[in-house]
Amino acid sequence: MTIPGAGVVLQSIVNGLLMGGVYSLISVGLTLIFGVMKIINFAHGSIMMLGMYITYWLYVLLGVDPYLSLFMSIPSLFLVGLILQKFLISPVMGAPEHNQLLLTLGISLFIENLALLVWTPNFRSLEIPYLKKAFLLGPVMVTVPKVIAFVFALVLSGIVYFFLKKTDLGRGIRAASEEREGAMAVGINLKKVFYVAFGIGTACAGAAGTLVAPFFYVNPQAGATFVITAFVVVVLGGMGNFMGAFLGGLIVGLAESLGAAFMPGQIKQFIIYVIFVLVLLFKPEGLFGRNVGR
């Protein structure tokens, strides 16, 4: 245990909040899928990893700006979500919960190890001059790609929020997540709702992958750490609770960054697991209760 100075603490707070924004975006997708379909999507991290590689290869092969590649990663991973939902998830919608979890675990094992085979375990990073810049904000050093990622993550989460609040389809999704039978009774097309919800969920993960690619090592296992963090966030925020996931992302980002300042090394990841188990044991309903959009 080291006692850091005030400057380090302030720096950790800022970094934690910036990273927390990205966690929020991933978790919003995960909680949406859980809320509507009652499925814990273990493959969420692998989808995010695919987003990272899309951005990486678009830049390396075609020179596409990483943030422009959002226009590629979001729709293509939305499509991946639809395909997964159609062929793999929908056949097990009525199966026992642990079987559903096993299914998504199987999907994630497959995608991750396929990526390992195709792209090798090498750590890759984007070398882009304007993204190497950092600036001083008072006593705090801020790097450009983290700020951009934070802003984009907020904007994208906001778009999903307004979609859920203001559009008919969004209202349908919220209705289905609160009361499936009731939603069906008032004529909501559940099938369509499932597709869209799963697609938006995976698109969020993909977008998050694109956003972290400029300042994170791109590798096949990159998603695995994020998915556990997202689990923590989603449980903390209340499974299926949109605002809970959003705020939870910021909280976990802060906690992780401050934890790392006090206890360096691999212990950071360890602490995420400890928090996860503690929350599951003592606060399984989360800080803010369940259900979307409250």
Partner: protein, 330 residues
């Protein structure tokens, strides 16, 4: 589900069949090369681990995604005791089981006391296994960057080390046969019925007077004890222990995948599943060679396939088929 609980006597046919299988398994290694013996030994080991998992997952209905926690603690306990304190690995086998049992009781107490069920229990187990992996990495990787090697002692029964694969095969056979016997024993006793009652509906079981918490703990402790002993066998077989092959998610998946493929909650299922898995991973290793992780890709695909198309495993599928044939065949 058919339940036999007053010791129904097996028919003559069954006894003869069982005796034939036993004789075949005993003489088998003398007709096979080293490689095939290795494959069968690993098939048996994963059958054994699957049976141990099945006790908790298949009978008591508590799906664990993190049995690598017990497997790894077993592998590390006997190995570290051996290297640092000169403890004989046979004694280590017992201490490993004990370490697994204590860990199982600890995790089980936390999870069951606070009512974790279904996917939440599964994820908590995964988290515990990952925590142990991180701890092992943190503490061991500086001192043993390439994993901990067990010093070679040559061909010595006393040191649990053999040059030939055949003694390992027999050991694994004894472990597996012993566990099969234990499972058949439990299945016919009150404990086995309590496990099944908890699996089907634990609130109802509680209402009927089953001490659900206590029996879940018993299943967990026993399963952990057996899994940890499997970890020691693995360590003595390869004579090396490292974090990823002890506590890795791949191990957790390999352990639970066998029963799932063969048939959860049956005795034959996990063993059959263990062999299917080992066979698949050997084939892919031979075809695709050096790429590590290919067998995990296959495991992933298999997991998806089994869940969608054969949720009751091979044994369950056969049962359904037999029923259908009987129905239409008169």
């Amino acid at each position: 589900m058919e339940e036999t609980w007053e010791g129904k006597k097996p028919g003559l046919k069954k006894t003869v069949f069982g005796a034939l299988i036993a004789i075949a398994l005993i003489v088998l290694p003398h007709f096979l090369g080293d490689y095939l013996i290795h494959v069968i030994t690993m098939g048996l080991l994963f059958g054994y681990l699957g049976l141990a998992w099945n006790l908790l997952g298949g009978y008591a209905g508590q799906f664990s995604f993190g049995h690598a926690a017990f497997f790894g603690i077993g592998a590390y306990t006997s190995t570290l005791l051996q290297i640092h304190h000169g403890v004989n690995p046979w004694l280590g086998l017992f201490f490993s089981g004990l370490a697994g049992l204590l860990l199982g009781l600890f995790i089980g107490f936390l999870c069951f006391r606070y009512g974790l069920k279904g996917p939440y229990f599964a994820l908590a187990m995964l988290a515990f296994a990952e925590m142990l992996r991180l701890l092992a990495t943190q503490w061991m990787s500086l001192r043993y960057p390439l994993g901990i090697s067990i010093p070679l002692k040559g061909d010595s029964f006393a040191d649990f080390q053999f040059r030939s694969k055949i003694p390992y095969y027999y050991l694994c056979l004894i472990l597996t046969a012993g566990l099969v016997y234990l499972m058949r024993f439990i299945e016919r006793r009150k404990t086995g019925l309590y496990f099944k009652a908890i699996r089907e509906n634990d609130d109802a079981a509680e209402a009927m007077g089953v001490d659900v918490f206590r029996y879940k703990l018993i299943a967990m402790a026993l399963s952990a004890f057996l899994t940890a002993m499997g970890g020691t066998f693995y360590a003595q077989y390869y004579l090396i222990v490292e974090e990823e092959s002890a506590f890795g998610t791949g191990i957790s998946v390999a352990i639970l995948l066998g029963p799932l493929v063969g048939g959860v909650g049956t005795i034959g299922g996990p063993i059959l599943g263990g062999f299917v898995l080992e066979f698949l991973s050997e084939v892919t290793r031979n075809l695709l060679g050096a790429y590590s992780g290919v067998h995990l890709m296959i495991y992933g695909a298999l997991l998806v396939f089994v869940i969608i198309f054969m949720p009751n495993g091979i044994f369950g599928g056969i049962k359904v088929l037999v029923k259908k044939v009987c129905k239409y065949g008169g």
